[in-house]
């Protein structure tokens, strides 16, 4: 295999590459946040109108610890009763599985083609 001679990259071109990479990175984190699609927020499925420790499902030991932490039944209401919603659709699960598998297949396939070039140039053609 003929030796591949890479082009020399100028300073401006290097700067452009860095800006592109940073923009993509910041976008991957912040776009879901800006679109309010990030995270699994908790909700209170069954609020209690006049909360007491008993109504919040807390026994004496649990109530004592909350009081030691500075909470009252009112201030601890949302903390104690809020729950995640783990319901999901079969379609969403299948989509995630397909995306993950497709990603790794893509990586391995492209990498293998590039790797054969590397080995051929490093060790010579067989």
């Amino acid at each position: 295999m003929a030796h591949y001679k890479p082009p020399v990259q100028g300073k401006l071109s290097q700067l452009v590459d860095v800006i592109v990479l940073v923009a993509l990175t910041v976008g991957a984190l912040f776009v879901p946040l800006w679109l309010h699609m990030a995270g699994s927020s908790k909700t209170v499925p069954a609020p209690v109108a006049s909360p007491t420790w008993e109504a919040l499902g807390q026994n004496a030991a649990q109530a004592k610890q909350y009081e030691a932490l500075g909470y009252t039944p009112e201030s601890a209401h949302d903390l104690i009763l809020s729950r995640f919603d783990y319901s999901f659709t079969f379609g969403a699960l299948v989509t995630m599985i397909v995306v993950i598998i497709a990603y790794y297949v893509l990586m391995l396939k492209f990498s293998e083609a590039e790797y054969r070039d590397v080995i051929a140039e490093k060790f010579g053609e067989k």
Binding site: P6, D17, G39, N59
Partner: protein, 478 residues
Amino acid sequence: MANFDITSNVRDGMGPHGTKVGLLRVLGPAHVWALGVGIVLVGEYMGWNFAVGKGGAYAALLACWFAGILYTCVAMIDSEVTSTVAAAGGQYTQAKHIVGPLMAFNVGLYLVFAYTMLEAANAITAGYLVSVVSNMTGYAGTLDQRPFIVLVIMFLAWLNYRGVLATLTFNLVITAVAFAAIIVLFLSTSGILGGGIMQHAALFEGHELPYGWIGVLAAMHFGLWYYLGIEGTTQAAEEVRSPARALPFGTLAGIMTLLIAATLTWYVCSGVLPWEFLGDGVSGSVAPLFDTARLSGSDALVWLLGIGTLFATLASANGCINDASRAWFAMGRDKYLPAWFGAVHPKYRTPYRSILFLVPIALIFALGAPLDQVITFSILSGLLEYTFMPLNIILFRKKWPMGVIKRGYEHPFHPLPAITLLALCAITFFAVFLGYGTQLVAMIGFYIVVSLWFHFRRYRFVDRGAQFTMPWPRPQGY
């Protein structure tokens, strides 16, 4: 068998290309331990408790142990491969030699983002801790945490800039103090020394598995936080005096330390704090070990765990800067990234440009995103990396079977650890899907886009054969 001795001092200060663009070999096994445990131990001080919120206290314990198995597999696999690949970049450099350039580019980015996000999370926690201390010492207002977040990142970046030996010796001391603080808290509150305050049965009553078994699966998401970063020991490969001995020793001693620390942490916190408070790391317990100390009634424990929390966050951020900059530097040296980053400081022999460049990136995340999102971003990058590892070790053993090249460490029961790791990664992907599926897909979308950018634009600047820098024979099957 190739006769290259990776323990040779002849390579000191030389890059894997045999050029002078290399780092200084000054570290020992204790520094490797300090790097790995130092990055991770903060996970015991904050963040792991989100697993309690996802499924309850028992679910967090199961997640602790299953994640422990996952990371034991990671440590075993990593120890074998990295004891052979003695160059900066860790898993990036492994992937470059074993799987191929595109995978290596992705792995390099996993590393940089996992560590930079973790660094940001640490800085956020340090800022929070300073505000708590200000309130405890009489300040009535709301302290602006941002200057402290900036100060933490800038100070540690400066330390990293000045040299790796001082950086990781600093880590060794503060990590040891943070680990000792957990032991002291356990001994003081469990009844072994003095009266015990544990009341697991009473606090769990009626809340054993609040979400049922799906909560146990969901808890695996943040179960990773108990150990995330131990694989970072591999980044020291180009700076340890004896990679073949120090890396496996430091890494395996590190995972053993963390298994103990994680279980003790769960025990003391879940025995004192109600699960709803413990499991809410934003509105409830941001620093659970510190909160446990507050309820112990001992001012000495409060101060010790306060110092432990601060030290753990500093050690982790410090190690993260070290690791992220090595990965970034290694990619720059190979021209996977602009070559400007592949420079070593003429006096301090550190990858100073990479260290400086990643400072504003960490600040953007620390000042602009909520803690759980930053943690999730870090966990996702780590998870993608762990999924790569079984593929990596299977290909490594296939291309260079035992006896073909020297290995500093050979992990037992292959391929059982690889298969176990892959299965646990699949479970964790499902756990992340339960609530953070959008981020997962967004993140994979990001990696697909940057992969296309690398393949069609960036890779043209990479010297094909020269990037294979290990003195190994031709891989079998090629």
